[in-house]
């Protein structure tokens, strides 16, 4: 196979009202097996996907939010969250699930997966990619 491509999954939908978030996560987890260069971005209502304490029991819907915690195990450990999107929604980083991954090159140190970036930084990151998929 040729050189790895850079895949960015841009999450722009809120988690429960539509299926995009959960079916997007399924793509990311399957895609992780292909040894490409993978990252995720959370923009607009997509930042709500990472909100702590989601509990869908009273809606009868499946709670898939714990699956984000598995991303680190799949070596998906660069989750970029747009600062402006958080601020517009009255959220801070403390509202988000504390997602981490273990760095095997650093004695399995636990490191944060979530990186808060501003709009200009996100714009640069988007420009670096080869493949962009929105969920």
């Amino acid at each position: 196979m040729s050189k790895a491509k850079k895949f960015m999954y841009i999450n722009r939908h809120a988690p429960c009202g539509t299926v995009y978030a959960v079916e997007g996560l399924e793509v990311v987890l399957i895609g992780a097996a292909f040894e490409q260069d993978v990252c995720m971005a959370f923009v607009g209502d997509g930042v709500f996907q990472l909100k702590q304490d989601q509990d869908t029991a009273d809606t009868g819907m499946k709670n898939f939010s714990p699956a984000y915690r598995a991303l680190g195990d799949y070596e998906v450990n660069r989750l970029y969250v747009e600062r402006e999107s958080l601020e517009e929604r009255g959220l801070t980083e403390d509202d988000l699930m504390p997602l981490t991954w273990e760095d095997e090159d650093d004695d399995w140190a636990e490191k944060p997966s979530i990186h808060i970036v501003d709009r200009a930084q996100l714009s640069d990151l988007i420009e670096e990619q080869d493949i962009l998929l929105n969920f």
Partner: protein
């Protein structure tokens, strides 16, 4: 009259359209992604806070919980109801406009 709004005000104009057309004294119920309109401290909160002077605003608790939103994060004056409360609102109001 009962109005329901099921979309996020950050991504869709539904809430804004609803509030511009709902008459004084109406009930407005936020459901599904519409409950994000109940969040305090957002860019859309002033719109809802202002609307509360003319209409009653409710948010559906199961949909709030599903999205990790608890009562202390909501705009003061918004009332939280369950599906039973939704049914009651649909009874006490003689007609319903669902802003889809």
């Amino acid at each position: 009259m009962l109005h329901t709004v099921n979309k996020s005000p950050f991504e869709s104009s539904s809430l804004k359209t609803c509030l511009s057309l709902a008459r004084s004294g109406s009930d407005v119920l936020l459901i599904e992604d519409g409950v994000y309109g109940a969040l305090a401290g957002s860019t859309h909160s002033p719109l809802v806070t202002e609307a509360l002077e003319a209409v009653r605003v409710y948010a559906l608790e199961p949909d709030l919980k599903a999205r990790g939103l608890s009562g202390d994060r909501l705009i003061p004056g918004i009332e939280v109801v369950g599906y039973d409360g939704f049914v009651d609102l649909a009874c006490t109001n003689d007609k319903i406009q669902n802003w889809l």
